[in-house]
Symmetry: C2
Subunit: 448 residues, 2 copies
């Protein structure tokens, strides 16, 4: 009945590849139910394989995959995620510290001298490790934000914070307002939970507060999401006056604010205005912070600070989602914050990022003069490059891929934005930036 496969040796010979490759390929196909092994008789094509099942309307995982509740990532984001694993790619838009900017040796030293105890290796307190929460509270105080350890919770990065807020505090059909373009368009915590997003343009004549007021007058908005400092992707930083205006309007309009402050520590020459949360005497702001953009994304440590009943609700949801964040990571971050390693690291990191920014700006001056506009970043990772023609589309993305350049096109942050690219000076090396920006300018000049 079942088709028998040739021996591993003869398969290896006929494809001209290593026998171990054949073995892993067969293992994989067995794991997926496409092949089966009969002891002493060899490997056979399964009769009722997964693929056959799909065709014959039996166990139809494909249907499950297609119809699941959560939206898949945008195709371009999925492509970016996939190409990022390809080490031959030059990543011109990656919102991540270069491996050379991660304090690997210092982290290793800390891990090598950290004492663990049984308490910290058990299931965590719902809000996270107490020592870590104390050190986050102290860290926030330095930025003007007064939050007691019991009014904040540890999360596995900023994205999980949004996920928890989406499913913990909002109803289906809720209206979320945000700046446009926005990072929130490139991820789906709110959309997948059935919320609607409306982007407010910073470029329009109306200021953001006025737009919030106008929209909220028609349909009650559930919250306003903002990255007010070194915005992703625009790098815009709200002035103190803009922050106070926003708070006062949102208070009047009863629209709570999610302040995503994951880039706030990465200022260059001068400190940005204090976080929105520092001016918040009404418990209107949920403040999100993270170690991913400053220390290491692999740690998966961030936090949410806000009114205690809100934090307790979110902590209860987190317990239901993943029972807390890694104890090892929590210990490490607590040590880095409380012993001053983090702030020393930031001093060094700022200097490195300034050098990378300047290097990148020089390249832009050389290769993008006349075909694009840009600003001079005062912190963070990004240059929001505005091209003179609307050519930022999937074709440009694919042309860049052909030249081994991975770019973050504007349309993943703002539907219909075909003029912008998010450039990042945080990830690629100087050599890669030089080759990448030169080559990208050639591709773009050709299209223009």
């Amino acid at each position: 009945m079942a088709t028998k496969l040739p021996s591993q040796r003869s398969l290896a010979d006929s494809f001209g590849i290593n026998r171990s490759t054949i073995i892993s390929a067969i293992d994989e196909l067995i794991a997926d139910g496409l092949l089966e092994t009969k002891v002493g008789s060899g490997t056979f094509v399964s009769n009722n394989t997964w693929n056959v099942l799909v065709a014959s309307k039996q166990t139809d995982w494909k249907n499950y995959v297609r119809n699941g509740l959560h939206e898949p990532n945008l195709q371009t984001i999925q492509d970016i995620n996939r190409y990022e694993a390809d080490t031959t790619m030059i990543r011109l838009g990656t919102g991540e510290l270069s491996p050379t900017l991660l304090p690997v040796k210092k982290i290793e030293q800390t891990m090598h001298s950290t004492a663990f105890d049984a308490h910290s290796l058990g299931y965590s307190d719902p809000k996270g490790d107490k020592r870590l929460r104390q050190s986050i509270s102290d860290h926030l105080k330095e930025k003007g934000v007064t939050v007691s350890p019991s009014s904040l919770m540890v999360v596995s990065g900023g994205l999980q914070a949004l996920q928890l807020i989406a499913v913990g505090l909002l109803q289906k059909g809720s209206l979320i307002l945000h700046e446009s373009p926005s990072y929130i368009n490139s991820v789906h915590p709110f959309q997948s939970a059935g919320m609607h997003l409306t982007g407010l343009s910073k470029q329009s004549r109306e200021t953001i507060p006025r737009q919030i007021k106008r929209i909220n007058g028609k349909q009650k908005a559930s919250l306003f999401y903002t990255v007010p400092t070194f915005n992703n992707p625009t790098n815009y930083t709200w002035t103190k006056e803009e922050r106070l205006d926003l708070l006062s309007l949102c208070k009047k309009e009863q629209v709570p604010i999610i302040e995503d402050d994951v880039y706030g520590d990465l200022w260059f020459e001068k400190e940005p205005p204090p976080p929105l949360k520092s001016f918040d005497v009404d418990g209107l702001v949920l403040h999100i912070g993270s170690m991913s953009k400053t220390l290491s994304p692999g740690l998966r440590i961030g936090w949410i600070a806000g009114p205690m009943p809100v934090i307790e609700r979110l902590a209860d949801i987190k317990m239901q989602m993943d029972y807390g964040s890694s104890a090892l990571s929590q210990q490490l971050v607590a040590t880095w914050l409380s012993q001053g390693d983090y702030s020393k690291h930031l001093d060094w990191l700022r200097r490195e990022l300034i050098a990378r920014r300047d290097f990148t700006l020089a390249l832009l001056n050389q290769y993008f003069e006349g075909i694009a506009n840009w600003h001079i970043p005062q912190g963070g990772f990004y240059i929001w490059l505005e091209l003179c023609k609307p050519i930022v589309n999937p074709t440009l993305f694919k042309l860049a891929i052909k030249e081994h350049l991975l770019i973050n096109p504007g349309y993943i942050y703002e539907p219909n934005n075909h003029t912008h690219l998010r450039l990042s000076y945080s990830y690629a090396s100087e050599e890669q930036l030089t080759y990448g920006i030169r080559t990208l300018s050639k591709i773009i000049r050709r299209l223009i």
Copy 2:
């Protein structure tokens, strides 16, 4: 206008408590927006506090908390979570290794000798660290499960696996079948995503496969969830024949299976039958494993193994939820699995758990003779204690709390179950077990 608070010193005096306590209390109330400080003038009660806002229908976080999509934990579960933080409690039902059973020193040694590199501290591959996935694949092979590293993904514990499956593969209104009683009733990954659960009783005359067939004939079931080995809470282990019957029926009925195998490594005198996944040539089974019950819950490392397209969908969702699991934890587990530390630890752990089981059974013989029935666990953590009268209700829970005993009542695993308790011999010390089981028997005898 605003009420001014007395000075910190006079507050400390009048309450007879430490001034630092006053300071943290004030900090907390400021953080929640109830108080505010005016430099040079002291601390004031905020005019528009969060509480006032609630009353005056302004920013109504309470409403947000009440109406969020995700269901809160059952009240009893929330109580259990809270009381677990109280160190004076004797935890008779906790499904967790005692601090004395965590290999803290060995974990510390591994962390002290682990070399980290920049790659592993960056954002993770969507499916998780490659070395870890290879070592999980090797580990599963020893249990008879052939899954290639690309057909499995790392998750932050078994509960996150269920969460990903719920939002990644299922539609609102999907019907989930499960054994009853079941752990799945004590958590809400499926319910919060809008799925319906139907419990199938092992005790009824019909076997589970026949019940699946009957129900599936009326309404298509989306999947069957099972903990087939050392079940939580019943400790039941499916025989090999039962496993094969289940697989063959589920294949015929096109009902995929979630095999939650987080206790499978904790067998005592003899190995349990191989996992369902080991018999699965049709890609019908998603297999969930975890380090939380065997090595340390604080690591937050588990996995899902299944057909590659399903795993890729789930990995994409995980990237949207938390961008991967902790790099530190992934490194540690990869080392423990690949260097044999994990299997050595299991040998030791099994002996310890056997001693704890025997100690607990002796106590039950002494104190529960005549008022309850129980089985002899062959692995795992639990004794599913059946009382002779239906007195397991919130009153019993509260009476136990008064005596500083924390119990896991049957009704959190099966609505309307008022005869069972989940006892665990994995957590409490011998002294605590002795005092706890004796005291509990007194309370129960009084109620009977």
